[in-house]
Amino acid sequence: MSRSVRYSSSPLLASKTPVWRSKFIVAAIALGFAVLAARAAHVQIFGNAFFQRQGEVRFVRTLELPASRGRIMDRNGLILASNIPAASIWAIPEDVNATPAQLKELAQLLEIPLTELSSKLGNEDKSFVWLKRQVEEPVAKRITELGLKGIHQDSGFKRQYPDGEATAHVIGFTNIENTGLDGMELTFEKHLLGRSGSRRVIKDGKGRVVEDIRDKVPPVDGKDLQLSLDSKVQFFAYQKLRETVTAQKAKGGSVVVLDAVTGEVLALANYPSYMPDKRKNLTGEQLRNRAVTDTFEPGSTMKPITVAMALEAGRVTPQTLIDTGPGRYAIGGFNITDTHNYGTLTVEGVIQKSSNVGALKIAQKMSPHEMWDTFTALGYGQKPQIQFRGAVTGRVRPWKTWRPVEQATMSYGYGLSASLFQMAHSYTAFAHDGRIIPLTMLKSTEPAVGVKVFSPENAQAVRRMLQMAAAPGGTGQLAQTVGYSVGGKSGTAHKQVGKGYASDKYRAWFTGMAPIDTPRIIVAVMIDEPSNGQYFGGVVAAPVFSEVVQQTLRLMNVQPDVTVKPQIVANPVEESL
């Protein structure tokens, strides 16, 4: 049974409230406020830095703004290396719960064996695993469409090289982090790299950027690089080289094409080569930039240099008679021979017939010191000043240690070594009226300023001899082209194996220039171990020279300097060349 309470007459209300109670309540509330004020002061004044930091840890992020790597272009602005978007695919193994069919499809898209993919995803101890890096965008898109849980992507870039194997040794390549590892990519790393920027931002709960809290540091993109290379000349040079190396069953080969006026490298090709973006299972044979890293004895290519130095020193004239009979010469216990007994030859004839005896007799009119000085001035035994890491120096021993037989053999290119690039460089002295010019891989429009080694008259005299050597009756007549006068010197040498020479292994080359009166280009060709029966430089390397000269001068719009019998007919399909 309920009992009503009569509040108005409650004895509790009737009793007088003690004053301390209200005072206590007020004090308690005041204390509460004081605590709040103290806390506010702690948070906002004394501990401010700490709380600020904690807030930032939760919401503020520093984003990196990646800089894009500069492009590499040829002299006409055609792209030789550029960036294309590429995603890197990664996974959190324990989150992945794909069906076997989905895994199979993923493996196919990633182009990796299913077993490899399964083993990567099977390791549940790992919280992160790369599945494949630098996947091209269309593939990455299809992977996104699979909608697999636990599979993620990071966007990025990868380098693309449109000319592929033709320019591989010059351009080089980058690693997965886009750092240059070889060729121009390595040499000009700083120029191409750029500097990444950054920004401090606040992100909301959904991970969206909602505010910049500081001015952003913008990324500085890498600068583009314009090379002296002409991608068409490069392609022709590479194509001809590849055809010849294959036809001659050779081990490899190189071609160097130089602009004789500006000192620019127009093409530099090696075979065998590789695709810069598919670098699995590569061998040193493919990776090596033979033209600058392989040295060999220059052989007959040195004879014009011997003659030029003798002309310069006034010991001979182009018409001086040299007795090369009976085709051999004994010196220091060695017998130096020619292929035939040429009898008495003029100095010009020595070059034309490539007589070893003639060359050594001319060299005997010089002192070792004079020869060494000229070799050095022409870059032999010196590190080439070119933008290639690993360009070799070659070898020319100090002249004081030369024995008479060595001085004799050096006159026709044995006992010293050089790379094909050095040989081509030394010939700029003949092409540039006696001045050796610095070479560059970068585009330049100014004629190069050279250092005088020979007088213009002597350089012209040697050019005439080179023309004779490449003309009917000379050793390099296959170097002839249609419409352009050429001059050059072939060379053939037994390859060095261990301490001696291999009797059945040869190296053949040809170095020359065109048009011969006012040279525009210098072309050097080397074929390593031709083994299809032919091995002379004039037979194996000279045709490559001829084709490369022909195409390069045409591409450079150089007008022919030799009258050609026109073969223009109505129906171009039936033309014979």
Binding site: R208, F235, R554, P566, Q567
Partner: protein
């Protein structure tokens, strides 16, 4: 006095609400700006890849192959080139000295 206080209170409340709105609006616009910047970056990348693709389709190697195989063309040589001299010689680049 009370009226002024109430007026000020209302003004403070309104201003506070406006501030919240502006803050919200600024963040919304910022997100949009971000999206646009991202879009710009993406379009730049697309243009770059399109250029790379165009270049890859026009490499000398491919052009040479197609010209030879599909069009039965041959490399030009001086033997099948007709050289003509222009009357106004100054208008053309100087040819190499014959």
């Amino acid at each position: 006095m009370i009226r002024v206080n109430v007026l000020l209170l209302v003004a403070v409340v309104l201003s506070a609400l406006y501030l919240v709105h502006i803050q919200y609006e600024s963040r919304r616009l910022f997100v949009e700006l971000e999206k646009a910047a991202l879009q710009m970056r993406k379009l730049e990348m697309d243009s770059e890849s399109a250029l790379a693709e165009k270049r890859a389709q026009a490499t000398p190697m491919r052009v040479d192959k197609l010209a030879k195989e599909k069009l039965q063309m041959q490399p030009a040589t001086p033997a099948i080139t007709q050289y003509v001299a222009l009357r106004d010689a100054a208008a053309v680049p100087a040819p190499a000295k014959p």
